[in-house]
Symmetry: C2
Subunit: 177 residues, 2 copies
DNA sequence: GTCTGCATGTAAGACGTTACATGATTCT
DNA sequence: AGAATCATGTAACGTCTTACATGCAGAC
């Protein structure tokens, strides 16, 4: 993860869909791809600057209302080429994940540990809430088949996020009914 | 993830099980908990120094063979108290995961994209290999019920890792049979 | 005697989060 | 009028990876 700068490819990919401001990008990270990648605005703005210096994106300044300036970024031909190189390259490594709850569990030796029930109950609540939110999003975004066809990748990854949470809940429930 | 220094708790937890050298810790990270947390030796050694300065661990020097020195670390009473505080505290946030393949998928709009088959095939191979490895480990570590009873947490998280991979493979196969 | 594994450390740089900072616009 | 949201940026700090560096021990 370190050293690969995946963020730049994500920004390029999002700008390849349509021109966007830094703030727009921030929201896409929060809403759409936050399940699989995260970025704060403090990371996005400097990266936009860097990409522009490398001639992979450009911007125009827009005025909203009477004074508010925003910078709308677009991808350049160079940027598209650079993005395509990444998107069609092989992905031969799985980025390892982290899970604090699971690690706490690792240190519990006995099935009879007095803390187990509370720990599992908390996680069930947490993951159920996450699952509910994802199901909500599927309802909002993909209740029409046309939307699935037009944004197939987005649909697939939302399905995957839903699966993942369901699987997590299943495991929690099986291990501690 | 940043700012919480979970690594220190993991080291304390592992030393709480039994005294270990930095190298021992490195191997546990590789073998046992690598599915849910990663740490290189370049992170472990400085952290051991820091924990010792804070009086949460101490070490004795052992000689292996005729010259090879190793430092065997043990947890102190302070260290145990600090560890217990963490292990029994609530875990109210899910650390978001990252997945490069999933993101590449996000940028694919059509079900008919010519790259989809190759992309899915690659991931199926990758995740199948990972699953095989995990099943192997379960066989090695937990084919005896006594082992399950003695290291219940370890058993649970290995089960979870296996579930997760099976679910990932299922999703891959369902989405692209 | 060479190769693999054991063993410990540091340095540089990339990546990521939190906090600091400022101002405009829209909704209630 | 105040709150929430839009909008852009920087600073400080913590975390993590890769690379550099060194030497002993055991197996073949």
């Amino acid at each position: 993860m370190a050293q690969k700068n995946i963020l730049q490819y994500l920004i390029l990919g999002l700008l390849n869909q349509s021109p966007k401001t830094g703030y727009d990008l921030k929201r896409v990270f929060e809403d759409d791809i936050g399940e699989f990648w995260q970025a704060q605005h403090s990371q996005i703005y400097p990266e936009l600057k860097r990409l522009e210096q490398a001639d992979r994106i450009t911007h125009v300044e827009l005025i909203a209302g009477t004074k508010l300036k925003k910078k709308q970024y677009s991808i350049t031909a160079d940027g598209i080429a650079f993005f395509d190189e990444w998107r069609y390259s092989s992905t031969s490594e799985i980025i390892a994940s982290k899970d604090e709850f699971i690690l706490k569990l690792y240190f519990i030796d006995s099935k009879k540990d007095a803390h187990l029930d509370a720990m599992f109950t908390e996680q069930k609540t947490l993951h159920q809430a996450k699952l509910d939110h994802l199901l909500d999003r599927r309802q909002t975004l993909f209740s029409q088949q046309a939307a699935v066809d037009a944004h197939y990748g987005h649909y697939l990854i939302l399905e995957h996020a839903i699966n993942r949470e369901q699987d997590y809940l299943n495991w929690l429930t099986t291990a501690r009914p």
